[in-house]
C-alpha cells in the first residue's frame, strides 16, 4: 500500500474548507492533516501538522502578494504549495511560480482536478494550466536573450531588465511586441526604454543598441 499524502488546507471560506476536506478524506491515498483560515498562527499550525502539501486559496495568497507562500516555504522546508481557486492571470501565475508554488489550479477547476493536482504534486510533478504554461516558456525564452550582465551593468549602468530589452530592440520589435515577449504591459516597456535612454544619454532606442555593440557585445 502506498503511503498517504498529507495535506493541510488553508482557506478563508469555511464551506470550502469543510467540503473540500471531506472530499479529500474519501481518498485512501490522501489524509487531511489540518484545515484553518488564515491567521498569524497559520504558519505554525502548518509546520506542526507535518503536512507534505499545502492547499492554499487565492484570497490568502493574493492578499499578501505571495509573501505568505515564500514565508511558509522558508519555515517549513520541503513543503509543496498548491494554489487553488486561481484566476487565469499570467502575472499572478508567474508571481506564484517565483514564490515557489508547485501547483496552480484555476477557479473553474473541479474537485477532481484538485485531487489530481495533489496526487501529481506528491509525485514531484508540477501542475499548471496549459495556457499559463506557455507564459512560463515565453519567460524562460526571453531570459535566455539576456546580455552578459556584469559588463553592461558596469559600463552602461543598465539594469537586468533593461539589458533584456536591448536585443529585442535590435530585432526591430515594437514596444507592444516586446511587452508580449516579456509578459509586461506596453506602458512598462515604454517606461523601461525611457529610463534606459536617460541612463546612457542616448537620443533614440537604436543608439542604445549601438552603444551596447560598442562594448563588444553582439546583439
Amino acid at each position: 500500500m502506498s503511503p498517504q499524502t498529507t495535506v493541510f488546507l488553508l482557506a478563508g471560506n469555511r464551506l470550502l474548507r469543510e467540503a473540500l476536506s471531506r472530499i479529500l478524506k474519501t481518498k485512501s491515498d490522501i489524509s487531511v492533516a489540518g484545515t484553518a483560515p488564515y491567521s498569524p498562527q497559520a504558519i505554525q499550525q502548518i509546520a506542526e501538522s507535518n503536512c507534505q502539501i499545502l492547499l492554499l486559496d487565492s484570497v490568502t495568497s493574493a492578499a499578501s502578494d505571495f509573501q505568505f507562500v515564500r514565508r511558509v516555504i522558508e519555515v517549513v522546508p520541503g513543503l509543496k504549495v498548491i494554489m487553488i481557486g486561481m484566476d487565469e492571470n499570467e502575472e499572478a501565475f508567474l508571481s506564484a511560480v517565483r514564490a515557489g508554488v508547485f501547483g496552480y489550479v484555476l477557479k473553474d477547476a473541479s474537485a477532481t482536478d484538485v485531487v489530481a493536482a495533489v496526487r501529481a504534486v506528491a509525485q514531484d510533478e508540477a501542475v499548471c494550466p496549459p495556457r499559463l504554461c506557455l507564459s512560463l516558456f515565453k519567460l524562460v525564452c526571453s531570459d535566455s536573450t539576456a546580455l552578459p550582465t556584469l559588463r553592461i551593468r558596469y559600463k552602461l549602468g543598465l539594469t537586468r531588465r533593461q539589458q533584456q530589452l536591448v536585443p529585442l530592440i535590435a530585432q526591430g520589435l515594437t514596444n507592444k511586441e516586446i511587452a508580449m515577449r516579456l509578459n509586461l504591459s506596453e506602458q512598462t516597456v515604454k517606461n523601461h526604454i525611457h529610463r534606459m535612454l536617460q541612463r546612457v544619454g542616448a537620443d533614440d532606442r537604436l543608439a542604445v543598441v549601438e552603444m551596447v555593440r560598442e562594448q563588444g557585445v553582439f546583439v
Partner: protein, 126 residues
C-alpha cells in the same frame, strides 16, 4: 412521507458549486433538481424545475445579486441563497411583499440550516 426540499445549484465558480453539491447531495431531506453551469440558463432551469431554493454566487459584497429581484418577482415562493466564494459570507434572500435578506453562516451547517428553514437570522435588512 415528508416533502423533499428541492434545490437548484447554480453558483460559481465550478469548484464551489461542486462543493455545495457534495454538501447537500448526501442529505436525505434535500433533492437537487438541477445544476446550472452557465448563469444565462438560470431562469430557464428555475422555470422548468420550480425549486424551493436556488443557490447562486454573490457577485459583490453588500449588493443583491443582479438576478435576485426579477427572479423573486417571478417566483415569489422560491428562496435564494447567494454564496460569496472568496469571502466567508453568504446571504439568504426571500420575497414577502418586498425582498428581504439575511446573512447566513458560510459553512456546511449554515447552508443546510438555511435550506431547512432553521437558520438563525440575527438581523434583517433590505
Amino acid at each position: 412521507m415528508e416533502k423533499l426540499i428541492r434545490v437548484v445549484v447554480a453558483n460559481q465558480p465550478r469548484l464551489m458549486r461542486e462543493l455545495v453539491l457534495a454538501t447537500i447531495s448526501e442529505q436525505p431531506d434535500i433533492e437537487i433538481v438541477g445544476e446550472v453551469q452557465d448563469e444565462a440558463d438560470i431562469r430557464r432551469v428555475v422555470e422548468e424545475k420550480k425549486p424551493d431554493f436556488l443557490i447562486i454566487a454573490l457577485d459583490e459584497p453588500g449588493e443583491r445579486p443582479r438576478l435576485c429581484d426579477s427572479l423573486l418577482c417571478q417566483f415569489p415562493d422560491m428562496k435564494i441563497l447567494a454564496l460569496a466564494p472568496e469571502r466567508n459570507s453568504s446571504v439568504f434572500y426571500w420575497a414577502s411583499l418586498d425582498i428581504h435578506s439575511n446573512r447566513v453562516e458560510a459553512s456546511e451547517e449554515g447552508i443546510l440550516d438555511a435550506l431547512r428553514g432553521k437558520a438563525q437570522f440575527p438581523r434583517r435588512y433590505r
